[in-house]
């Protein structure tokens, strides 16, 4: 038995080392940029980092990211001016665009379409909700006052869980010394990315919930959709009251088909502009999302860029 245990231990150790080497050789595990909270209490990527984002088991998608000095993934620095035309895209991972080459992002597509007339700054960060986004605009109000048009990408059912901004400790826990140490293993990063660690995480969560004697997901599903919608609307009103909202230049970018009438009516009645991207994407003759995740593919991003260019023309920002 002793022989068996020793041999198994040695083999397991050597195999783990071999896997770590193989994962590094084939560049299967992605680079994880580090995140932080700046002096304005805005959570974002630590400025001036670059690396590779990898999707899927076998390098299905392999793109370089470039975090600029403002802490967002972009090919350019965000330096709004009084004279130039600047547009801000604020949103979650769809705007952040780790799934795409940053040189073919939505913002870049708009710039290419409109020549040198305009600069598009993409304030995207995976996991941002409406509270994050509106707090960001408020925190950087000096910059945003110089920006001529602001588009906020939102999904009603996901992004209005909070009526006030606070720092999300769960996300920042990823920066704990333990997590940082774990992230040094490309094998662990890779296993986590492909979902191989999900059963372990689920089991730990289940055990934790069992000990606590609670079931969080159950209580959420028990809430009636209608009251939830009302709560989300109240959260939106709260955020507007807390952080301000420049109706003249801010436009919500959302899929109307998945947004409740209650919210749409509120926006219409109170003069909030919005653009529906759902119709254009749903009516497209080709697939608009990536095959391996639900982010917009190159074609989907082109369609979104077209919508925004159209809006910029209608709004008279450019001719």
């Amino acid at each position: 038995m002793k022989k068996l245990v020793i041999k198994l231990g040695v083999y397991a150790f050597l195999i783990l080392i071999s896997l770590e080497v193989l994962v590094r050789i084939f560049y299967l595990g992605e680079d994880k940029p580090s995140r932080f909270v700046d002096e304005n209490r805005v959570e974002k990527w630590r400025p001036n980092q670059e690396g590779y984002s990898v999707t899927g088991n076998r390098n299905q998608n392999f793109v370089r990211y470039n975090i600029n000095s403002s802490g967002f993934n972009s090919y350019q620095e965000f330096e709004p001016t009084e004279d130039g035309y600047e547009v801000a895209l604020v949103g979650d991972s769809f705007i952040e665009g780790f799934h795409q080459p940053y040189k073919s992002s939505i913002g870049r597509k708009i710039e290419l379409e409109l020549g040198e007339k305009i600069k598009v700054f993409e304030y995207g960060y995976a996991g941002y909700d409406m509270a994050d986004q509106m707090h960001l605009i408020h925190a950087y109000r000096e910059d945003f006052e110089l920006i001529d048009r602001i588009y906020i990408k939102m999904k009603f059912s996901n992004d209005l869980n909070r009526g006030e901004y606070y720092i999300q400790s769960e996300r920042l826990n990823l920066e704990s010394p333990l997590n940082k140490a774990l992230k040094k293993s490309k094998l662990l990063v890779y296993l986590s990315e492909i979902g191989a660690l999900t059963p372990v995480k689920n089991m730990i969560n289940d055990a934790r919930m069992l000990v606590q004697g609670s079931s969080r997901s159950k209580s959420v599903t028990q809430q009636k959709t209608e009251s939830k919608d009302k709560m989300f609307l109240e959260n939106f009103k709260n955020l507007v009251a807390l952080y301000g909202y420049d109706k003249d230049k801010t436009v919500l970018l959302m899929d109307v088909s998945t947004t409740p009438k209650l919210f749409l009516d509120y926006l219409d009645t109170n003069g909030f502009d919005y653009i529906d991207f759902g119709q254009k994407l749903n009516n497209a003759d080709r697939n608009t999302t990536l095959v391996y995740d639900r982010h917009w593919n190159n074609f989907g991003r082109t369609l979104i860029a077209e919508l925004l260019v159209e809006d910029l023309k209608v709004a008279g920002i450019i001719n």
């Binding site: 299967l28 076998r58 979902g195 191989a196 095959v291």
Partner: protein, 484 residues
């Protein structure tokens, strides 16, 4: 609990440690642990159906004793044997075939012009493994009836034999003559046996996670959308399904056999590289061996086997293939699948070539197969793969539509993976897999046949690496044969 689940990878080491180091002192403790562990293993799926296993165990334990007790009184023995058969077949009939028969009668009446409202159809859950353990318990009673074994008088051992978790839910269907005596004797720790078990588990996981689960999304997509694909894609789909079902089931069997070895038990081989068969008869000597053997011993031979007139022998062949097809599932597609194999087997039988490859492998005296053998392999694989259209389709209509499209839209179009992966990866994977299996074709119980320790280590690392490369977290990872 699935063999490829996290729960199992916690359950197995605990069982192993308890078995050898805590409760491994005596036979009764070993068997008690295995029995409790097996019931826990099964109960995690649905504890209510444990009662069926216990009932089947109790009935055949009692029947076995009664058959033996009535030695010399053949009619009484027969009566007891029928009691076992009727009980087990009733369980199977109710849980597996009840709705099939009701629906088939309704369809039949509708063909005759009578419309019947289906009020008899019930919502019945098919208990996992019922086709396997009922066959195992029945074979025990039959073996006592045919005087091949003596009855077991220790209920604990007998219950352990029936519920032995490595093979409880999808076989191999063990005959009492092979398994029971291992359960009634104390097992001793054997280092080589355990290492060999671990290797088989690793190889089985590779076949399941990489081969079967890797190509499953492609097969699912092609069969689901077969009406939109050209012949080239349909042929690709059914060919890949052939590999999928082989990887899935033989992978399961390897894990089962490997797990049993960890507990000092040797189960029978269930697969001997069926893809390297030179005719359909050889295929059936290499595919799901425990089921084929079961049908040969308990159906084919009692019917007279091949030692009767030619007409009756052909009838017997048709019967076992149709019954075998029906065993797989309550659907006409499986009966057609069985019938198709009967038709493919009969010419081989009539030419007297059904046993000529029994004791040798392709390329017996050389590394490479001869050109003739290569042709035979391709032909056999083609026939078996074609039959898989029936096996995989949801209904006969789907099967014939699928076949119809292959012949009516005989064209080529490149196929794109539904999740955007490179198809080339899968072709390379399968080519390497086939060549590797060809290399180890003489010994199905030793998948890592390398003398050099470092090469063997490299093979382990690559096999695990491949599992990571093809792991799909979004895919339902249960085993195909669980549904049977």
């Amino acid at each position: 609990m699935l063999f490829n689940s996290l729960e199992y990878f916690i359950f197995l080491p605990i069982m192993f440690l308890l078995y050898w180091f805590v409760l491994g002192k005596g036979l009764r403790l070993q068997n008690t642990l295995v029995l409790v562990g097996s019931y826990f293993f099964y109960g995690l799926w649905d504890w209510r159906f444990l009662f069926l296993i216990i009932a089947s165990t109790a009935v055949d334990y009692f029947v076995g004793i009664m058959i033996h007790r009535n030695e010399g009184d053949r009619p009484k023995q027969k009566l007891w044997l029928w009691a076992s058969v009727i009980f087990n077949i009733s369980l199977l009939g109710f849980f597996k075939y009840y709705n099939f028969f009701v629906d088939s009668f309704i369809d039949l009446f509708e063909v005759m012009g009578y419309s019947i409202k289906s009020t008899w159809t019930l919502k019945i859950i098919l208990p996992v493994g019922i086709s396997f353990y009922t066959f195992q318990t029945m074979s025990y009673s039959m073996d006592i009836y045919y005087k091949r074994i003596k009855p077991c008088h220790d209920f604990l051992s007998f219950a352990t034999f029936v519920a032995f978790f490595p093979q409880l839910v999808a076989g191999p269907i063990e005959r009492a003559s092979n398994l029971l005596h291992q359960i009634t004797n104390k097992r001793t720790f054997n280092y080589n046996q355990i290492v060999s078990g671990l290797k088989l588990i690793l190889w089985g996981l590779f076949k399941k996670l990489v081969i079967a689960d890797g190509i499953a999304p492609i097969v699912d997509d092609i069969f689901l959308n077969h009406e939109t694909y050209p012949a080239s894609t349909l042929i690709l789909g059914v060919t890949l399904f052939s590999f999928q079902v082989y990887g899935d089931f033989s992978g399961y069997s390897d894990i089962a056999i490997g797990t049993a070895k960890l507990f000092g038990v040797e189960l029978m081989s269930n697969f001997k590289f069926p893809n390297f068969s030179r005719n359909v008869a050889e295929y059936w000597q290499r595919w799901h061996i425990s089921l084929s053997t079961w049908f040969r011993h308990y159906v084919y031979i009692p019917l007279g086997g091949s030692r009767v007139g030619q007409a009756r022998a052909l009838r017997n062949i048709c019967i076992i293939f149709l019954v075998s097809g029906f065993w797989h599932g309550a659907n006409w597609t499986f009966i057609f699948w069985g019938g198709f194999h009967a038709l493919a087997y009969i010419p081989v039988f009539l030419m007297g070539r059904n046993t000529i490859y029994k004791d040798n492998v392709v390329g017996e005296n050389s590394f490479f197969p001869s050109l003739i053998e290569l042709g035979q392999l391709v032909l056999t694989f083609g026939i078996v793969t074609f039959s898989r259209i029936f096996f995989r389709s949801e209904s006969l209509t789907d099967s014939f539509n699928f076949i119809g499209r292959i012949f009516s839209d005989f064209s080529y179009a490149p196929y794109e993976h539904p999740n955007g992966y490179r198809m080339l990866d899968y072709f390379i994977l399968l080519a390497v897999f086939v060549l590797y299996e060809y290399r180890i074709r003489r010994d199905e119980r030793n998948p890592f046949q390398f003398k050099s320790k470092s090469v063997r280590f490299l093979a382990y690392a690559l096999v695990i690496f491949a599992m990571l490369l093809f792991y799909d977290s979004g895919f339902d990872r249960s085993f195909i044969y669980f549904q049977f």
